[in-house]
């Protein structure tokens, strides 16, 4: 804020940052606000379509998949890699949630290290953030593959045939929009994670090359950090809407 003293006369002479945040940071905030609206629209669409479809009314233990009602989420997402045939409801998605929260934590630590101009620590924590993001994407790839291939038993559809897994036209878990919304919303979030990991790699490269050390501040780490936390924030909502409710 040392520039303020130079332009004593009027704030219109420039040299001042509105809201005491740099241009880049402010624009990142407003971009994230608009992105929040996009995700809200998607999740509200999910809620609307879900409540338009009949819910399963029987006992939870006797639940079976049927295209006539919306499935119970914990009955759909109960598979874990390497543990084939064992019902572990929501365990895998719980692991994914913690991976993303932890990669958000390492990002905060990278930003904090940046404030102290500690290049080595920024490198270390950015590295862990990238690892966490990549691990999350790997988990999601497995989750999608499992969702598409389906269970061994499959589900008898309305026309009498047995169908396994899911595509955009029909799925074994419930009404067609169930799989469509799953693909679209977790896919849109996954695309955000992917672009976040790519941005993190670019910034990590710059950190290692000493670009920000020369510049005198690590604000780029902060900006990409804002985006990364937003991705985690969206997951918190996707997690509630898709896997819990």
């Amino acid at each position: 804020m040392s520039t303020i003293t130079v332009n004593k006369g009027s704030i219109w002479n420039g040299g001042q940052e509105p809201m005491k945040a740099s241009y880049g940071k402010l624009m990142m905030w407003f971009f994230l606000l608009s992105d929040a609206f996009t995700f809200s629209a998607l999740l509200i669409t999910y809620g609307t379509i879900r409540f338009m479809n009949p819910a399963y009314s029987g006992v939870r233990e006797e639940f079976t998949f049927s295209p006539t009602y919306w499935p119970i989420p914990e009955k759909v997402y109960e598979a874990v890699p390497f543990l084939h045939g064992i019902s572990l409801p929501l365990v895998f998605v719980g692991i994914m949630t913690f991976i993303l929260i932890l990669s958000s934590v390492t990002m905060v630590l990278a930003v904090e290290a940046g404030h102290r101009m500690s290049q080595k620590e920024v490198e270390k924590w950015m590295m862990w953030t990238i690892v966490g993001g990549a691990a999350f994407l790997g988990c999601q790839a497995w989750e999608w593959a499992h969702f598409i291939h389906g269970t061994e038993a499959g589900t008898v559809m309305k026309d009498g045939t047995t169908f396994f897994g899911a595509n955009l036209i029909q799925n074994q878990y419930g009404p067609p929009p169930f799989a469509n919304l799953f693909f679209f919303i977790t896919g849109f979030h996954g695309t955000h994670v992917l672009s976040g990991v790519i941005l993190n790699i670019i910034i990590f490269y710059n950190v290692v090359m000493g670009v920000y050390e020369k510049r005198g501040h690590y604000e780029m780490v902060e900006k990409v950090g804002l985006y990364w936390h937003f991705v985690d924030l969206v997951w918190v909502f996707v997690f509630t809407c898709f896997y819990l409710v």
Partner: protein, 103 residues
């Protein structure tokens, strides 16, 4: 690389900023665990959905306020981000009403 120690304050648990981050991490993990317990041991009804919504908003608050540092920005920036979110609540109420209108 030679400038890596500009300030006396170092990383690690003694740094108050790092401590704060760990406290928030513990809160977020704790809330997530509570959500899991609710998912398995609480009957699926509207009151559970409301509990999920409240817990989710708490988690969102901690992520935005502490991790994204919004709590420590100037007031005008905080309100510029928070006030437009009111439209989302309008949207939710409108669409839930519409969704319920078609049995």
């Amino acid at each position: 690389m030679a400038h890596s120690e500009h300030t006396p304050q170092a990383g690690g648990l003694k740094n108050p900023a790092v401590k704060r981050v760990l406290v928030v991490t513990a809160i977020l993990s704790g809330l997530t665990i509570v959500e899991f317990i609710l998912a398995f041991y609480y009957p699926a009804n509207m009151s559970r959905n409301v509990l999920f919504a409240i817990l989710t908003i708490f988690k969102a608050f901690y992520i935005v306020a502490e991790f994204m540092h919004l709590k420590h920005e100037v007031k005008s920036l905080i309100w510029s981000i928070v006030i437009p979110l009111a439209f989302i609540f309008w949207f939710i109420v409108a669409m839930l009403t519409e969704g319920g209108a078609h049995p």
